[in-house]
């Protein structure tokens, strides 16, 4: 026990001696929140669209009004009316516009005669997400042309209530909080735990510890426990700060806080032990660097923190089934947004526990007690 405590004490002392690392470990997950929140906006906005109207008929006018309504409301695109069809298409090719909509001269006539009316939509299909979004909005506007009224119409003489989806927007930020907490945990498990072992190995100090009567179990579990201490503190602070930033209320007060910390502890243990299995024999910090970048992406994005697991292809769904971060995200989301107690996330807790036990056992068995 004295030995185990000495391993833990040494590790925590060394971590505290690196204040830059401590500060970065707090700040970086919060920056993730701000940057992820703004780069992965739920809805696309302000995509530029050139419109060339060659028809003076009523339906063409109505279509343009519908488009303007979208421009004013959902702000999916901004409209530029052009006369020249060629210029509009060239503009799309050169990247000035995301898309060009051409309304042919016989558009109104064909609608009236029921002779399959058409509009042309020239899209920059290399930017598939934007193209898809614009196509959906335009097809909505085109379908609404036959309706005799225009649902939203902007007229200068009318008082107009413009919807700004403030709540949905904040909600999106809030939905990222579990992901940010996971990020903080991941970062902690990268800067503590097995990383210290690899660093000791690289600097040569590992040799002096292998010469002492320390056992494998003491070395591995000591590093996991010190990593757990550091990471739990980091992740809890990051969690509290991101709750304040995004304004998530505590529905059940202290109970909810404790549940969250239990999930943080279990997730940290799962990730720390997993890192030990992957990197327990690495001997250069560069290997940890490459692995951490890689592992962060392959565990974080399929975790359901940003995009729902349900829409993954089957093979990726299968991966999410063994991804500890997916269970952590599910548990955190349930506790935070659905007001769930620990009973409801018992499955997640069980998985994280079993995962930790299996990984720690592998880490201890594969840890090399000799040089």
């Amino acid at each position: 026990m004295t030995r185990l405590l000495a391993v833990i004490d040494r590790d925590i002392k060394k971590f505290r001696r690196n204040p830059v690392v401590v500060v970065m470990s707090f700040l970086m997950p919060l920056l993730y929140l701000v940057i992820l929140g703004n780069s992965f906006q739920g809805k696309l906005k302000n995509l530029s669209m050139a419109v060339v109207n060659q028809d003076s008929g009523t339906y063409a006018v109505r279509l343009i009004e519908n488009l303007k309504a979208i421009e004013a409301g959902a702000k999916t695109f901004t409209i530029l009316q052009l006369k020249d069809q060629e210029a509009a298409i060239e503009g799309v090719k050169s990247g000035r516009y995301k898309t060009a909509l051409i309304i042919p001269p016989d558009f109104t006539k064909r609608i009236v005669l029921n002779k399959s009316p058409e509009v042309g939509l020239f899209m920059d299909n290399t930017d598939s997400i934007s193209a898809e979004t614009i196509r959906n909005s335009v097809s909505g506007a085109v379908r609404a042309v036959r309706q005799e009224y225009v649902p939203i119409r902007e007229r200068p003489d009318e008082i107009y209530i413009r919807d700004i989806n403030l709540y949905a927007m904040v909600d999106y930020y809030q939905s990222l909080v579990p992901g940010v907490v996971i990020m903080a945990i991941f970062l902690g498990t990268m800067t503590a735990g097995v990383f210290n072992l690899v660093m000791d190995r690289f600097l040569g100090s590992e040799e002096s510890y292998l010469l002492t009567p320390l056992s494998r179990v003491e070395i591995v579990s000591g590093l996991i426990i010190s990593g757990l201490t550091i990471t739990t503190i980091l992740a809890s602070v990051v969690f509290a700060v991101s709750m304040i930033i995004t304004g998530i209320p505590f529905y059940r007060g202290i109970d909810q806080g404790i549940s969250i910390i239990i999930i943080i502890v279990l997730t940290t243990l799962a990730l720390l032990s997993m890192m030990f299995v992957f990197l327990g024999r690495a001997n250069h910090p560069r290997i940890v660097g490459i692995f951490s970048g890689f592992l962060n992406v392959i565990f974080f994005f399929p975790s359901g923190a940003v995009y729902p697991i349900e829409s993954f292809p089957d093979w990726l769904k299968a991966f999410a089934k063994i991804n500890p971060e997916a269970y952590a995200v599910h548990a955190l989301k349930s506790i935070l947004f659905k007001n769930a107690g620990l009973k409801i996330v018992a499955g997640d807790i069980l998985f994280l526990l079993v995962f930790t036990v299996v990984m720690t056992s592998i880490a201890i068995v594969t840890f090399k007690r000799t040089l």
């Binding site: 405590l5 040494r10 002392k13 002096s208 010469l211 009567p213 001997n283 560069r286 000799t370």
Partner: protein, 349 residues
Amino acid sequence: MTLIYFLNGHIIMQKPNAIEVSGLTKKFGALTAVDNVSFTVAEGEFFGFLGPNGAGKTTLIRMLTTLLKPTSGRAVVSCCDVSEAPRSVREKIGVVPQAVTSDLDLTGYENMDIYGRFYNIPKRERVEKIKYLLDIVGLANRANDLVATYSGGMRRRLEIARALVHTPEILFLDEPTIGLDPQSRHVVWEFLEKFREKDSLTIFLSTHYMEEAETLCDRVAIIDAGKIIALDSPKNLKSEIPGSDIVSLTLSDISRLENIKNVLTATPFVHKIKVDAETLRIYVDNGAQNLPSLIDSVKEAGGIVSSVSIHQQSLEDVFIHYTGKSIREEEAKKVSFFVGAGVPQKLGR
């Protein structure tokens, strides 16, 4: 520990061996780093392993200190087999590895304290022992500074003190003064002698410095290419080579070398001649007195001497005598293809 037993009515006291090694071998793939090595070290002895880089010294120490598993053979250290009871061995030995291993982010005191806790030494005892050791190695006033601020010599001294924190029976040192300036080297030698006297330690040291082995060791084993090629006290090792002095003559013209050699060999006080390019190493008695006639003989044989040096035999000469090469010839260190220059000390021998 001294064994006392009765035999035929007499009390017999016998010091057991601190280290017993028989047939110890370590192979790395096709390379045999340590090749069927056998020796014993008595309790309280200062034992040295002398050899060039790459001779297998570090591999041997790592096997004796349980860091590497032997391929074959047996090593008993402090009455425990290194393969069967590595943990018991670890509790009884202190080791100063070749690489600097102290923790940069901790203070000198913390380095010692953490180490002491790894050996389960009670706090009060630990505090006293650390103070005592830091005093001897001259780091008492820097104890609370981070090791990152220490010089190379200070780190080495701290590491030696750290290896003694649990009062081991045997102290292993792998090239303890490598990379140190001559002054720091002498400081280390001084307190190694001091520790040995005070704590009746057995010390096992590897080195490629002749002077170090000669000054410190009771017995020296000369190791080359994984094999022990000579083992005795420095004095006896030196007496094995005929001629007490060595005269090195450098010739400016070697065209008549054979003739010169024949003439010199016939001279009564010359025991042996070794030729190394333009330099003749002549093993003679009373070198200083016989030098003038030696140079005259060379002139008569048609040689022109461009420089002369004369020195007493040292272990260096013993090494050359046995291996035919100088100890300073260094081999290139091996570096892993996969991780680059990161960990040469792990793969180097």
